[in-house]
């Protein structure tokens, strides 16, 4: 009986070896027509690549977008002759981070995702916020970030880092002496901008700040022209914009004929007389007098509307940008607004300047790790668009797991046979 068992064990070992030899030979001969299926790719890529000839057809059912390395690997397999296809309900997601043209820095994060989806944004510290994508995405302004930024929608994860910083110059404010010019300059300075100013007090008498240098992009990131006090500088301001500078025009400045090339539209009549505003702590942007921007130019983009009227519009002028403002007497908001009005007024003016400021990009020295800004795009670029689920034919081949078990049988069988013989005293 024991002898019989020993023969059987020996036979198993020989059989397993024969089977493995046969498998090896068969894969070499029929790999051109092998179809391999994988749900997720995990370690499969290594196995496929270890084959003498890659599988003829690879179809993956994905529940997450493969990493850049995996995508490159799949691309290589496709290049080596495999017909690589995929299917799966993967939400496309994309992320981009750009520096904000502001002295306080910050990052503006653009996340593209299917409308209605929840996008989880995080950085190396942890979660930043969860936003619901509308009209194909969401935008986030962040005061600071650490390391890599990621946007996660279901199984798709996109990552980015802010690769550039900006080189900011000064802001020039031009206007007549009055509360508006005073508080615009104050707001920008309090936000960290270095401000030069030409404030007209009387004919030939100005209050100035800064060197009064030539208005060009080597010195100024933006010019804020508030009112008729900017008239003598109108041509220089227009040239500054054409060469890449940013210009913010107040309603009175925009109505100057010399500013016509910069206007986003005509200056309408002020909707309310500022003197009629009742100061009750409720003055806000919504209650300020508004000279609406009418007859908007075709290349102008309205940024803010109030009751259907365009309140802020912006357009490109040559290499630069010009923003036209409809709000008057914004200082009243700062002085007579509710709690936080000073901050709100400051931030609002800083944002206006930021939205047009000329700020050349400077690459940052140290950038953390590899990023994957648009994983779905990368997947499609590597192996093409996804197929509908079930469209690919499916066959099952032996998996590497079985091979390992078969391989384990060989020594076990041999040990068993030898042990049996020794125990019964045979040599």
């Amino acid at each position: 009986m024991r002898v019989l068992l020993e023969h059987a064990l020996r036979g198993v070992v020989i059989g397993v070896l024969a089977l493995m030899l046969w498998q090896s030979l068969r894969q070499e001969t029929v790999s051109g027509s092998e179809v391999v299926r994988a749900r997720g790719i995990g370690g499969e890529l290594a196995d496929w690549s270890a084959l003498a000839k890659p599988p003829g057809e690879i179809h993956m059912q994905l529940d997450s977008v493969p990493s850049p390395v995996e995508r490159a690997w799949l691309g290589a397999l496709a290049g080596a002759g495999s017909n690589v296809t995929w299917s799966g309900d993967l939400p496309p997601v994309m992320i981009a981070a750009q520096p904000v043209a502001s002295p306080t820095g910050g990052t503006r994060l653009f996340a593209a995702a299917p409308s209605g989806s929840s996008v989880v944004l995080s950085d190396d510290v942890g979660a930043i916020d969860t936003v619901r994508a509308q009209t194909a995405g969401a935008t986030l302004a962040l005061a600071s970030t650490v390391g890599q930024l990621t946007a996660r929608v279901n199984g798709s994860v996109a990552s980015a880092v802010q690769r550039d910083s900006l080189s900011l110059h000064r802001v020039l404010v031009i206007g007549n002496a009055g509360w508006e010019s005073k508080f615009v300059v104050a707001a920008l300075e309090e936000d960290g901008w270095k401000v030069d100013a030409f404030i007209r007090v009387a004919p030939g008498v100005d209050v100035t700040q800064g060197s009064g240098a030539v208005i060009d992009t080597s010195r100024y990131s933006a010019v804020v022209a508030l009112d008729g006090g900017a008239a003598p500088y109108a041509n220089r301001i227009a040239e500054f914009a054409r060469r890449g500078g940013g210009v913010v025009l107040g309603p009175q400045a925009a109505s100057l004929d010399a500013m016509a090339p910069l206007r986003a539209g005509a200056v309408g009549r002020a909707a309310s007389d500022s003197r009629s505003i009742q100061a009750s702590g409720s003055v806000s942007l919504a209650t300020l007098p508004l000279a609406p921007i009418t007859s908007l130019r075709s290349d102008a983009i309205p940024l803010d509307r109030r009751a259907g009227a365009v309140a802020i519009a912006v357009r490109r002028i040559g290499a630069g940008r010009a923003l036209q403002l409809g709000y008057e007497d914004t200082w009243r908001w700062r002085m007579s607004g509710g709690d936080g009005a000073v901050d709100a007024h400051r931030t609002w003016w800083a944002d206006l300047v930021t939205s047009v400021a000329h700020a050349p990009r400077v690459p940052r020295a140290a950038i953390a790790g590899p990023t994957d800004e648009a994983p779905m795009t990368g997947l499609v670029a590597a192996i093409g668009p996804g197929a509908r689920a079930g469209a690919a034919s499916i066959l099952s081949g032996p998996s590497t797991g079985w091979t390992a078990w078969l391989l384990a049988l060989v020594p076990l069988g041999l040990i068993g046979e030898v042990a049996s013989r020794r125990l019964r005293g045979a040599s």
Binding site: V100, A101, T104, G105, R108, F110, A112, L121, D124, V125, G126, A127, I128, D129, V131, R132, A133, Q134, T135, A136, G137, A138, T139, L140, A141, L142, A143, S144, V146, L166, V185, A186, E189, E190, D191, G192, K194, A197, V201, A202, P203, G204, V205, D206, V207, T208, Q209, A222, G246, I301, V314, R346, T354, S355, V356, A357, H358, A359, P360, R361
Partner: protein, 672 residues
Amino acid sequence: MTAIGTPGRARGVTSLERVRRTQRILGAAAVTRALAWGFAVALGILAAVSFASLVIPRLRSDTALHEIFAVVIGVAVAGVLIWRSRHFVSTNRVALWIEERIPELHYSLVTAVEQRESPFVEGMETTIARQDVGGVTFRALRRGLVAAGAAFVAAVLILYVSPSEAFGRPGALSRLGRFESAPSIPIGSRLEDIEVRVTPPAYAGGRTITLDDPSSVAGLTGSIIAIRGRGSVAGLTASVTGPLRITGDDGRWAISLVMPAKPAALTLKDRNYERVVVLDPRADAPPKVALTSPVRDTALRVPRLVVQLNVTASDDVGLVAGHFEYLISTGSGEIFKARTINTPVVRFGGSRTGSMSATLDLASLNLQGGDVISMRAIVQDGNTLSGPGIATSDTRTIRIARAGEYDSLSINAAAPQPLDTTAVSQRMLIAMTEQLVRDQPKISRDELVKRSTEIGDLEDRIRIRVQEILEGEAHAHEEAQPGDPPPTLEEEEPADGERDPQHPDLRVAYNALWDAVRSLKIAEPAPALPPMRVALAALDRARLANRLYLRGTPPKIIVDLERVRLKGEAKGSSSTRTPRSFADSARVRLSARFNAALDLIEKQPARAMTELALIRVEALTLLPEFATALGEATDAVRAGLDATLPLLRARRALGGAPKATPGLPLWSGGGG
């Protein structure tokens, strides 16, 4: 000892005595060797664990267990060695031990000890006396004792240079009673596991609070902070704004300091180790005091009034005293004088809330027309360190009108005072008129006319009062007949537009009063009611508006700007402006430091903790919410917990919530 081997001197020393002496020596040596090996093993174990703690930091946490383990093993080793020497309790075994080492005795020693009555004893004694038993014994024991001593010394040395404070000199050895007085510096940090006791200033009367290993200490400014830690003083430094004195006793160091007025960082240094403890002072707020009576200012025609003053006060620590102050201003034109009267001091006895009251009889002040009495309450707390904190209430003024001067009337009488008992309020007149309307069907025509005319007269007095306020007394004395068309203020408005436009409510009231008076005086009370109500509402609005302070309402001069524009002969000159400072510079600076500290957390956690503590010191005043979140984060890190959430909260408190905008913008903003 050497006398054993000298025959002449050995006379009289029996074999048994020799054996017993050797037995004592062997016993002492065995015990000494066992103890030495026991200590050596125990200390060796401690040293081994100490070195292992470099690789396994967890080993530092439970030092008592390791010490017990070492002691048990050491005792076991000593016990085994002593057990192995147990045969030395028998003199025969000792004698054999000696025979074994001195074969020349030929068992004469054993025989002499066992056969003490034998006739051959003397011969044997002689033989034995010729041998150097003591020297042999010493030589036999020397190697074992030297080895045990060497092992003990080696273990002590190894433990001495071991890296962990837990098993260094102040730890295990000092507890074992050795080297107690020998000062030396431990290898590990002595800045962990500190104990902080905060004693509030004496005037506050609070209890001492003990904090266990805190990262920050909060307390009233002026509190005494006592910090104690383990280890010697040598090499330790501490500083806040300047170096602090560190004392030490009983193997512990101690620092005592006073809570400063502003947040500060207490920096403790032990060679390369550093720890920052945030000092978070709570200022003793000044008291709060509210004058509840009289509730408003008033003007009097005659200085006859008894004013009741009532005050409530509170303080976060304790009130001490308070009084009322009356400031009487007299004068006109360019000459004004003032005198101050203080009421007796009221003691609050350190309670947190209190009240006081006083009665002021204006008649006693000998006031004249034009005088102004300003009344207020002053209270103080018990702050003897940075105070006392003094608070003053709102000031109430009573003005005495000058004779013939009626341009300083306030239509707001001081509410609690029965200033004018003859005045009938508009509200009461409306009630009377409504009653008359209800009674009208039941009463005669004459009765109706009489009652309606009476109400009309009273209403007319109010109208004249309003007119006085609006225009001055001259107009008020003009006779107006009910039948005449009312001279409304709009009609009286001068063409030059210089009339005060600031009292529209009073003008509305005036015109409505005219309508009401006219209806009442022709005995038509029902049509009088609507304008009476309009008048009441307008008077209420005027009453609720800011106090009408009509004395000398300035004439409105309208400048003809076109006429004078740039007609000045003097010319101004241009000037330069100094830039304003960056409002949020502190926030931006803290943000940059915070981000840098976050970057350090994984690479240099100790450095990051120090930096976060220093950031928190600055933030305590500037950004308290951020400071709180940062405190939670540092506490979490110190406790070995996950600090992600508090760090995220801190970041949000510092940078604000992210501003999310739905969709992707058409305009991405400025840039290159």
